[in-house]
């Protein structure tokens, strides 16, 4: 109110207003305020008046509330860590890749694990047939971990591990591998993601229910506070929220609210705040909304310092300091015209650096198609090396401080995120809010709205919904031989099982289950003993599951959001009419089952499709997460659907889709049409069509487009049967 009044009173401002109005009339533009997806109005010009009431302006880098940076000198004394996230199916292959990367200028490791490991299954478990070696390295026992870090000095190399579900066995095996390399755990540095709360919100790679999962988290914090002073026991992650469609405000607010919840969990464990808070670290996504992303990191540091101070009054200022890793946005990558992704990643990397990140991963341009090749990984790494060494950007700390726009955005984000954080606090903290399903629904709503904006071209994506290529040039991508990987992994697992002391394994697993059941003792300590005895990831996870149970989510799906965004649009009406015509002539609406197969929990795409299709008038069945092909086939037959839609994000389709096709055929139900969507390389299209898939929808297919194509398939099917 105040600032508007000041600006009105300023004669120079009044003159600007008249000028701007004239220019808008001349150019035929009537929108003067850009409303961002988070609902923050962005004006065409910012002035000193916009800085009124912003508290953090006078702060300096390295001092609370750390708006301007975590240290006084930032990159001028210590560049950000170039930390590329990677994992290639087997421990040997990943090890060779890491060593090449380190030789080529990478400064830290970031391990990606395969889906089976994430979910606590050994490679020979029947449920993970299509998942072994997918999206990362398969780890079954400490022997795999030894191979993974062969000739990599763990006392000198900081290692980040993206692990949340099977944190106990994986962390335990890391500690044991280091010890067997001759490195004491106190010398280990790096970060464990260990952020289970966001798994329940978006990524779904949990194993146990929320409350026992929180116990695991706090046991790990306690263990590392006691034994691993240089190790970050958790990386509180907003990344996956933004990837799942959250707005920047949601990402910011829910991540910090998660952080508060973890601090409370550790305190209830008997720790003092200053014993562990300095070692908490964060992880954010950097998307294409350039200035918003810069402001987000500044806002995150400011808010965290304020929240920590308010709630826990630590004595050590390091407990107020938010240190973060950033990764460029995976969803901003497109499979169409994929070289554009190099440019997108560069811009996002620049935003992360201007925002003051401590470490950074830049995506490879082909990641919307498949896992990166050596060539694409090199370009991604070089993007950071060029920013670091060729631009001079490192010499000045927080160069955008004082920008009217950036400071005002920083202030708006702090304010808006506070509102959401307060909402979570009122719900009784994050664990309670998650149990009630609140944040998941909020994020899903934002995600569906974004899909509608893209489908309607309100958001432009070059090469996808605007300026598309007439012909896509094929890109060389990496293809995995899933069967061979699994066979090799299972072979090693069998050798480990044969050569170990079986009684020692049983004893250690019983002891672990006892610690889980009694609620006293430290779970990680017991897991380390089990890992040393050569218990496997699956065995350790099962021992815990015997007490904690495996968690099964009960996701509700919200309806109406997509449809409302389309209210009154011609293309939408046309689809609804065709659906109704189908229903009249068939006696029921077209019915589609949307499934995810295997251990891939990225269900944003599937859920968006489900709600959008229901809004268009389809009857939509949803399969449970982590289904096997046989289970999906049964559900399709028993619910008697017309269409089975398979959403695939992590390369499971080459194994799992053929299994579905075979299953339908075997049961005489190949009249059910199969369509696929998600991240499927162009090269695999022919392979899938040859196995009878009716349609494939890559990223960038708009939902109405997919619906029309499905209606075509259904209608031509009917014509054929009439003939």
């Amino acid at each position: 109110m105040n600032q508007a009044f000041d600006a009105d009173a300023d004669p120079a401002m009044a003159k600007w207003r008249r000028q701007a109005a004239a220019e808008r009339v001349r150019c035929g533009v009537d929108n003067q305020v850009w409303m961002t997806p988070e609902g923050i109005p962005v004006k065409p010009v910012y002035t000193a008046a916009d800085l009124d009431g912003i508290a953090h302006l006078e702060s300096l880098p390295g001092q609370p509330p750390f708006t301007r940076g975590t240290t006084a000198t930032m990159y001028s004394t210590r560049p950000w860590t170039i930390r590329q996230y990677a994992g290639f199916s087997t421990a040997e292959e990943s090890n060779a890749f890491y060593r090449d990367c380190l030789a080529a200028g990478q400064t830290g490791l970031s391990i990606a694990f395969d889906l089976a490991t994430h979910r606590g299954y050994d490679s020979d478990h029947p449920r993970v047939e299509g998942d072994v070696g997918k999206a990362g390295v398969a780890i079954d026992s400490v022997e795999d971990m030894n191979l993974l870090f062969d000739q990599i000095p763990l006392d000198r190399m900081s290692v980040s591990m993206t692990m949340n579900g099977a944190v106990l066995p994986v962390m335990a095996m890391f500690i044991v591998a280091a010890q067997e390399q001759g490195v004491d755990q106190s010398a280990l540095s790096g970060t464990l993601q260990n952020d289970i709360l966001k798994e329940f919100m978006v990524r779904n790679t949990y194993i146990y229910p929320p409350r026992p999962s929180m116990r695991i988290v706090s046991d790990i914090i306690a263990y590392s506070a006691g034994h691993m002073p240089r190790f970050n026991p958790m990386s509180i992650s907003g990344y996956h929220m933004q990837e799942a469609g959250a707005t920047v405000v949601q990402e910011l607010a829910y991540t910090l609210a998660d952080g508060i919840e973890y601090v409370r969990a550790a305190l209830s464990h008997g720790l003092q705040v200053d014993q562990f808070a300095p070692r908490l670290s964060f992880f954010f996504a950097t998307g294409m909304n350039f200035f918003m992303e810069i402001a987000k990191l500044r806002a995150a540091r400011t808010l965290w310092a304020d929240l920590m101070d308010e709630h826990f009054s630590p004595e050590n200022p390091d407990s107020l300091r938010l240190r973060t890793h950033c990764q460029t946005s995976g969803v901003s990558l497109t499979s169409l015209d994929p070289y554009n992704n190099i440019v997108r990643t560069t811009i996002e990397a620049l935003a992360a650096v201007l925002g003051g990140t401590q470490s950074l991963h830049t995506n490879s341009f082909d990641e919307a198609l498949a896992l990166p090749t050596e060539q694409s990984a090199r370009i991604a790494r070089n993007t950071q090396l060029i920013l670091s060494h060729e631009t001079g950007i490192r010499n000045v700390v927080d160069p955008l401080a004082g920008s009217y726009y950036v400071e005002s955005l920083t202030g708006s984000l702090i304010r808006e995120a506070r509102v959401l954080i307060d909402e979570i606090e009122e719900a009784g903290g994050m664990t309670a809010a998650i149990e009630a399903g609140l944040p998941k629904l909020r994020i899903e709503e934002a995600s569906v709205l974004r899909q509608a904006r893209v489908d309607q071209e309100q958001e432009v994506i070059v090469g996808v919904n605007r300026y598309p290529l007439e012909r896509e040039t094929p890109v060389d991508i990496r293809i995995l031989d899933n069967h061979a990987i699994r066979k090799a992994q299972v072979g090693r697992l069998e050798r480990v099982r044969k050569s170990r002391d079986k009684r020692a394994v049983t004893r250690s697993l019983d002891a672990l289950a006892e610690v889980a059941a009694s609620g006293s003792g430290n779970l990680l300590e017991s897991a380390v003993a089990a890992a040393r005895a050569r218990a496997t990831v699956g065995e350790i996870s099962d021992a815990l599951a015997s007490v904690f149970q495996r968690y099964r989510a009960e996701p509700g799906v919200l309806g109406g959001v997509y449809g409302r965004a389309y209210e009154g649009r011609e293309e939408f009406r046309v689809i609804q009419e065709r659906v109704m015509a189908f229903a009249r002539s068939e006696g029921r609406r077209p019915r589609i089952l949307v499934v995810k197969l295997g251990q891939d929990g990225h269900d944003r795409g599937a859920r968006t499709i489900a709600t959008a299709f229901a809004d268009m008038g389809f009857d939509v069945d949803i399969g449970p997460l982590f289904q096997t092909p046989e289970e999906a086939v049964s559900q399709a037959i028993e619910n008697d659907v017309h269409i089975l839609g398979i959403s695939s994000q992590v390369a499971g389709h080459r194994t799992l889709v053929p299994a579905v096709m075979a299953g339908l055929k075997e049961r005489g139900s190949d009249d059910i049409k199969v369509v696929c969507g998600g991240v499927i390389p162009q090269d695999d299209y022919a392979y899938l069509y040859a196995r009878g898939v009716s349609a494939i929808f890559g990223p960038g297919t708009s939902v109405p487009e997919a619906a029309l194509q499905i209606l075509d398939i259904l209608e031509s099917d009917r014509v054929q049967e009439h003939a």
Partner: protein, 339 residues
């Protein structure tokens, strides 16, 4: 020939009765269909299947969204199957979205039963009318029984008229309540309480246990003031926890006791006969209404009456009489149901 017509021919009664899941699925699609020729086929099929429902128990289950119906069915159903039964789960969902499309996530919420070979779950889309939903659910019960399922659970969201419908097609009607519901007992529709043969307090675990016990006591007291549906059966109130799997065995024991008690002296078949008779009237009402709404002259008359009713010039009841008179004039000939 269209796809669904082809499937009509595929509903082989012998295969259905042998328990073929795919045949049952197709048969259920047939009774769900709104096409008149499918309806005729459905009637023929329903006439042809062997009706031997005496060995079955039909359980209705209602409760507000979030009370934990699906979670309970998943755990309770697993227990029932372990006792050697075969279980079918049907859902009556009277809500319909703006577009008429439905999101059917029931199997997601019952992951255990979804993969159990002795369970059959069929989520059914919302219909245009509650009567339509009820009709196909009744038909579905008969088909599931014919396919060898001897425990049928019909689940419904506790809103609107659906509880009465479901209680009218089942032998035993269960009401699920959250702990703490006793505090607001007056908020629970008395009518629903009167329908209940059993009240289940869900989520009786952890911090909620004390609260659940209090609710159970309050509801037990309140229920004694209500005339029971069966004179020698006072509806029991019990606490369950799906997460701790407590109360599940007791729940099944109570179901068995109820079944034994009401089956004495052939009372169960008496109840079912009465339900069939009431259902005939429900169907008659529904069919009359369908014919009335489909009548061109009635529709024209309706349009002309609408503005007068809205403006208050004509009372609703007078307008209704005029519509019915119009319909009777039209129908003055062979009765539409006689063909």
């Amino acid at each position: 020939m269209s796809r669904d017509q082809a499937s009509v021919r595929m509903v082989d009664v012998a295969r259905l009765e042998s328990g073929c899941r795919k045949t049952l699925a197709k048969a259920l699609t047939l009774v769900e269909s709104t096409r008149p020729d499918h309806r005729e086929e459905a009637e023929r099929l329903l006439g042809a299947v062997e009706k031997n429902p005496d060995h079955s128990i039909r359980i209705g289950l209602t409760g507000v969204p979030g009370v934990g119906k699906s979670t309970l069915i998943d755990v309770f159903g697993g227990h029932i199957i372990n006792q050697g039964h075969r279980l079918a789960v049907l859902a009556v969902d009277p809500t319909s979205s703006l577009s008429g499309g439905s999101i059917l996530g029931d199997k997601t919420r019952m992951p255990g039963l979804a993969v159990n070979p002795h369970a059959f779950i069929r989520p059914t889309p919302a219909g245009e009318s509650l009567g339509g939903v009820a009709r196909r659910t009744r038909d579905a019960i008969v088909l599931c029984e014919a396919a060898g399922y001897d425990v049928i659970i019909v689940e419904t969201v506790g809103i609107g008229q659906s509880e009465a419908l479901v209680s009218n097609m089942t032998d035993l009607f269960m009401l699920m309540l959250l702990p703490g519901a006793g505090d607001t007992l007056q908020g629970i529709k008395r009518g629903v309480m009167e329908l209940a043969d059993m009240v289940v307090i869900s989520k009786a675990d952890g911090a909620m246990q004390a609260c659940a016990r209090l609710s159970a006591a309050e509801i037990s007291h309140a229920i004694r003031l209500i005339q029971p549906r069966h004179e020698d059966w006072i509806p029991p109130v019990l606490m369950v926890s799906a997460t701790e799997q407590s109360g599940i065995e007791r729940l099944w024991q109570l179901v068995c006791r109820f079944r034994k008690q009401v089956r004495r002296d052939g009372r169960l078949s008496e109840v079912r006969c009465r339900q069939a008779w009431e259902w005939m009237w429900t169907e008659t009402r529904q069919q009359l209404l369908d014919h009335l709404k489909a009548d061109e002259a009635v529709r024209r008359r309706m349009d002309s009456l609408k503005s007068r009713v809205l403006s208050g010039d004509l009372s609703p009841s007078a307008a209704a009489s005029m519509l019915v008179a119009q319909f009777r004039k039209q129908a003055d000939g062979p009765c539409p149901g006689d063909s």
